[in-house]
């Protein structure tokens, strides 16, 4: 027996359980021998005939898998839909939650903004990898287990909801309108009766017109959104810009301790012993960032939904049900 045949046989056997090896080895050797012999009888070149015969038999691991009826995939078609569904549910929950918690704890620790962002990004990546790894590992084991776990039964109840034709709700509109009107009234009143000067840091004071402008722009945007009737990519981008126009200066003012005037700060510190004021400001900044980030993301998701499936469906759900 020449070297490459021995190596091939070993390549098959090492991928086969020990108890099957003694039985399988003579069989594989016999069929390689037959293939070589019949090719030689047909006039093949003796120098290359073994290589040709082994090439025809193919990858030994593949042959071994066919013999032992082991799957050549990580997660088979039986469990793949469940696997993908679980990942799609877990990743969008776990990754942002971990990132948020890291931002919060790092910011409370007093880390620099860049450091906070780096830690959050690192934690998000490692959370995504952990979720993917453990879910994949779990399903791979499930797929190979001898108990043959059946895939979750599908029923029509599991069908996804159709995105409505008008995906902008009037409740959302009313809510945004109310919040922004209140903000405008509050800020304008601060400007008008000069109370703001005493309450706010001089820097925050100069930013007041900007925030009033942003709130007015938010209202204009909400009206435009209601008129268009659905989220589009342009509206999502404008929403992101408005979010940044509010969040970036707001977080900067809080972070630089430029929000409240020195007198107010002193008063608060006197009342609270200065124990929790810093942390509460940090938490406020992180929460503002998280809410605006979620709002921006939400806008893009809605734009994708209404631009994707919604417009791809030719007719409304009512009319499709009756006709052929």
């Amino acid at each position: 027996m020449s070297n490459i045949i021995d190596r091939y046989v070993w390549g098959v056997l090492r991928a086969v359980p020990h108890r099957q090896r003694p039985e399988l080895e003579p069989e594989i050797r016999a069929l390689i021998g037959d293939a070589v012999e019949s090719r030689l009888a047909a006039g093949a070149d003796p120098a290359t005939v073994e290589r040709v015969a082994l090439t025809e038999l193919g990858d030994p691991e593949r042959l071994a898998a066919r013999y032992t009826e082991q799957p050549l995939y990580l997660i088979g078609p039986r469990h793949f839909p469940d696997y993908r569904r679980l990942l799609y549910i877990l990743l969008p929950i776990v990754v942002p939650a971990v990132a948020f918690l890291v931002v919060l704890t790092e910011a409370l620790r007093g880390a620099a903004p860049l450091e906070v962002a780096a830690s959050a990004a690192g934690a998000a990546v490692s959370a995504a990898m952990h979720v993917s790894l453990w879910v994949t590992l779990g399903f791979a084991i499930l797929d190979r287990s001898s108990w043959r776990v059946p895939a979750s039964a599908w029923t029509p109840d599991l069908l996804p909801d159709l995105p409505g034709p008008a995906s902008v709700s009037k409740v959302e509109f009313a809510f945004t309108l109310a919040v922004n009107l209140q903000v405008i009234v509050l800020l304008v009143s601060l400007v008008v009766d000069e109370r703001g000067r005493a309450l706010l840091d001089p820097v925050a004071w100069t930013w007041l017109p900007w925030f009033i402008g942003v709130a007015v722009a938010e209202i204009a945007f909400t009206v435009a959104l209601l008129l268009v009737g659905r989220w589009t990519w342009v509206l999502a981008v404008i929403n992101a810009l408005l979010g940044a126009a509010f969040a970036v200066p707001a977080i900067w003012l809080i972070g630089e301790r430029r929000l409240l005037s020195a007198e107010v700060l002193a008063e608060i510190e006197r009342v609270t012993d200065g124990a929790w004021f810093g942390p509460s400001m940090t938490i406020t900044a992180v929460v503002i960032g998280a809410i605006v980030a979620w709002d921006v993301l939400h806008g893009f998701l809605r734009a994708r939904r209404s631009g994707g499936i919604g417009s791809a469906l030719p007719t409304s759900p009512v009319s499709t049900s009756g006709r052929p």
Partner: protein
């Protein structure tokens, strides 16, 4: 995908399920792996060696084939023969094959040329 590819992949689909039946019928006369592969190929079944050999072993494990090592020739060979259970399986599959054949023919005849 051009037409020839469609034909060859459709043909492969059609024949995939028939290899088991062909093996059970051919092995009424004892045969060994490589010889069976040759005969199947002569008959037009495009079956790979690395598919056929594990298939024979599976059928043996299921009791559809009996095997025995022939050591009389220069090299030992494992000969397979269809078992009585294998005969019954072959008869059932053959009956089904004939039903499918009749149905397909019926459809083909009804079609105007």
């Amino acid at each position: 995908m051009d037409f020839d590819n469609l034909v060859s992949s459709g043909r492969q689909e059609l024949r995939r399920g028939t290899v088991v039946l062909a093996c059970l019928l051919l092995l009424r006369q004892p045969g060994y792996g490589y010889g069976l592969l040759d005969r199947l190929r002569d008959l037009g079944f495009t079956v790979d060696a690395n598919t056929l050999y594990p298939l024979l072993r599976r059928l043996e494990g299921q009791g559809m084939l009996a095997s025995e090592w022939n050591t009389e020739e220069a090299r030992p060979r494992k000969f397979y023969r269809t078992s009585p259970d294998g005969e019954r399986l072959a008869a059932a599959l053959l009956a089904d094959w004939e039903r499918v054949d009749a149905s397909i023919r019926h459809l083909g005849d009804g079609e105007p040329r």
